[in-house]
């Protein structure tokens, strides 16, 4: 089913032409949007691009953007694949809370002197990730085998998950001191915060997984036409369970990043509304909510656009009440910029004026 190499080349060339209907084109506009936002930020704050080395850690707004975006980038990886199957995962924010709650409660047993192997930091991290995977399995089971609509199936965990996290921590927001667990959120390697490496590693790993095998193609085919995929012999249920599980794992990693960053698990607020930012980023990255074609790196780019915008708002002297409105306007502008219809409308407008 793979296109011939010569055809692929032709497609690539077509993609490079501006004004064509292709996702590559979308990439150009996403990058353009990011650059425009960064330039505006630079105009607002003169030292926006400056990066300093302080105590072996790079400090500066650009690093802050990457570091601050890392949790949502992790979410967006799983979310992209889920959305590519025409699904949606509303539970990622609460899965973050569950995973961080699990990790912090266990690690505090370790710090209190418990010797069992499952309290060792490395194992605790694995258990937290496994907790995320179980949440994802549950979502996948509801969607794939019980045929519950994804928005409802994951809504269940969105609501109950916060309760689960609160039960795990007994309603408190526990803190911890273990440096191994904290490293995931605040470690530094060669001056760069660890979450940035984690994002890159996951992006590359998952991209290899889906693009070096047929899985990516299968995901897209399930998203584009589930029935046709079924008749073509694709086990769409298994594909769906896989992407939701991966989304749960990504959410757990994001939860560990957020917990490590401030050395605490907050079952009430951790990951609150994070699912919306992740979905928004995936859409900005060009993956249609109707499923099908996806690109993980463009979703990550979408997160960077949102985070740059947020950082810009932080350094602007706008009153905080204006934040959400400005965010909405800029996101709308980015989406319009990416819309072929809107651009051709603008073109026509200019022609008429000229």
């Amino acid at each position: 089913m793979q296109p011939q190499p010569i055809l692929q080349l032709k497609e690539k060339l077509a993609d490079l032409k501006l004004g064509g209907f292709s996702w590559n084109n979308r990439a150009v506009w996403s990058v353009a949007a990011l650059i425009i936002i960064l330039i505006v930020n630079r105009l607002i704050s003169p030292n926006f691009f400056s990066i300093d080395m302080v105590n072996g850690r790079l400090i500066g707004s650009l690093i802050n953007i990457l570091d601050g975006a890392s949790a949502i980038i992790l979410l967006s990886i799983g979310m992209t694949l889920v959305i590519a199957t025409k699904g949606i995962d509303l539970s990622v924010g609460t899965v973050m809370a569950i995973a961080s709650a699990v990790a912090v409660m266990l690690i505090n047993q370790y710090e209190a002197g418990a010797g069992e192997f499952y309290y060792m930091p490395g194992v605790v991290i694995l258990i937290a990730v496994a907790a995320g995977a179980i949440c994802g399995l549950w979502n996948g089971f509801l969607v794939a085998y019980l045929n519950i609509q994804p928005i409802i199936a994951t809504l269940i965990l969105l609501i109950s998950g916060r309760g689960i996290a609160q039960m795990i921590t007994q309603g408190q927001s526990p803190t911890f001191t273990n440096e191994t667990l904290a490293f995931i959120g605040r470690g530094v390697i060669l001056g760069v915060p660890f979450p940035i490496y984690l994002c890159l590693a996951m992006l590359i790993l998952v991209t290899l997984l889906v693009r070096r095998s047929a899985i990516g193609l299968l995901i897209e085919s399930v998203g584009i036409n589930a029935r046709a995929s079924f008749y073509a012999g694709i086990n769409s249920a298994r594909i769906k369970v896989m992407v939701y599980t991966l989304s749960g794992i990504c959410a757990a990693l994001a939860g560990l990043v957020v917990a490590g960053e401030v050395k605490s698990a907050d079952p009430h607020k951790a990951g609150e509304f994070a699912e919306l930012d992740a979905i928004l980023a995936v859409v900005i990255g060009g993956t249609s909510l109707n499923g099908g074609r996806f690109n993980l790196f463009l979703s990550a780019l979408g997160v960077l656009i949102i985070q740059s915008l947020l950082t810009g708002l932080y350094v602007s002297k706008l009153h905080p009440t204006a934040n959400l409105v400005v965010k909405a306007i800029v996101v709308l502008a980015v989406l319009l910029l990416q819309s072929d219809e809107f651009r051709s409308f603008l073109k026509r407008l200019f022609r008429r004026r000229a």
Partner: protein
């Protein structure tokens, strides 16, 4: 002569404090049965609020019927209806989950002759339906934080503010109180203000942005609308290679347990207590209203400012 006068003054002050304490300890209300409908146990603060009410009831010999609503208004209405139907409570203390939808049940309580005291969050019902509302004075908290900062900097300070959730009463009122006081000192200025939504990670991110947008030497202090955001800011300040509480002063509100660890470590300067001790004033209000006294519609509970764990512990024995 001077010494005698001083001793006399001290004696009078000690005497006043002693009477204040003894009345607080006795309180009144012995033998009363009071229903207390609490929101739930969603935070450490809520739990200590519940514990404080229970302890106060026990100290006063009040028979407290406690009902945990688990964040549901229906549960609260059901509990209040049950108390009214059984007719065995002398008064009801209600910590409402939400603001609206209380008129009917409050009217029923009023018709049954059971006074209701609202604690903590507000209700939008007709004020004639309840006795009074006992709640934290967020404006006072903001003023207190500002007053400390004014003193610590002799009225000269460029402040960055970590705003709470925009639109929440806690954030808006703390901001108002803080601004009221610094307005008296031309040298005190808020140079940046952004919301961290009362969350640690966001507090850290906002502070990181402030530190890269401003010359850190130009930032004299952080005012955080809650302790969590202050703890996030401490992390950001440390990452930027600065010394929190020295290079940049930090004052916040809530007095959660974690902030005292930071105070112990010398990484923050002061916190204003969001007082969970609303039991005593609520019971006082019940006793007063049963005795036929008219009460103001709002009884504010003001927390104090603490700069060390020792000071806090001394106040809460």
């Amino acid at each position: 002569m001077r010494n005698i006068r001083r001793i006399a003054v001290i004696l009078v002050v000690v005497g006043l404090i002693a009477t204040a304490f003894s009345t607080a300890a006795q309180g009144g209300g012995e033998g009363l049965t009071i229903g207390f409908s609490q929101i739930g146990s969603e935070s450490a603060w809520r739990t200590s609020f519940t514990d404080a009410v229970k302890a106060e009831a026990e100290a006063r010999g009040i028979n407290l019927l406690f009902s945990d609503a688990q964040q549901e208004q229906e549960n609260q209405i059901a509990a209040i209806n049950a108390w009214i139907a059984q007719g065995d409570v002398d008064a009801i203390i209600l910590a409402p989950v939400v603001t609206s939808g209380w008129d009917v049940v409050l009217q029923e309580a009023k018709d049954a002759g059971i006074p209701v005291v609202i604690v903590d969050r507000n209700v939008d019902a007709d004020p004639s339906l309840y006795v009074t509302r006992v709640s934290s004075d967020f404006v006072h908290e903001g003023r207190l934080a500002a007053a400390w900062l004014v003193q610590a900097t002799s009225g000269n300070c460029n402040i960055v503010e970590l705003y709470g959730t925009v639109g929440s009463a806690a954030a808006e009122d703390r901001a108002t109180g803080f601004r009221e006081v610094i307005a008296l000192f031309p040298g005190m200025q808020i140079i940046r203000s952004e919301t961290g939504n009362f969350v640690r990670t966001e507090g850290k991110q906002v502070m990181e942005s402030f530190l890269s947008a401003e010359d850190p030497a130009n930032i004299c202090a952080v005012f955080a609308h809650n302790d969590d955001m202050a703890i996030g800011a401490i992390e950001a300040i440390k990452e930027a290679g600065l010394v929190p509480a020295q290079d940049i002063l930090i004052v916040s509100v809530d007095a959660i347990p974690d902030i005292f660890d930071s105070l112990d470590a010398g990484e923050t300067n002061a916190t204003v207590e969001l007082s969970p001790f609303m039991g005593a004033p609520a019971f006082d209000a019940v006793v007063a209203t049963l005795a036929g006294e008219e009460l103001p519609k709002w009884i504010p509970v003001a927390g104090s400012l603490y700069t060390s764990r020792a000071a806090y512990d001394a106040d809460h024995q």
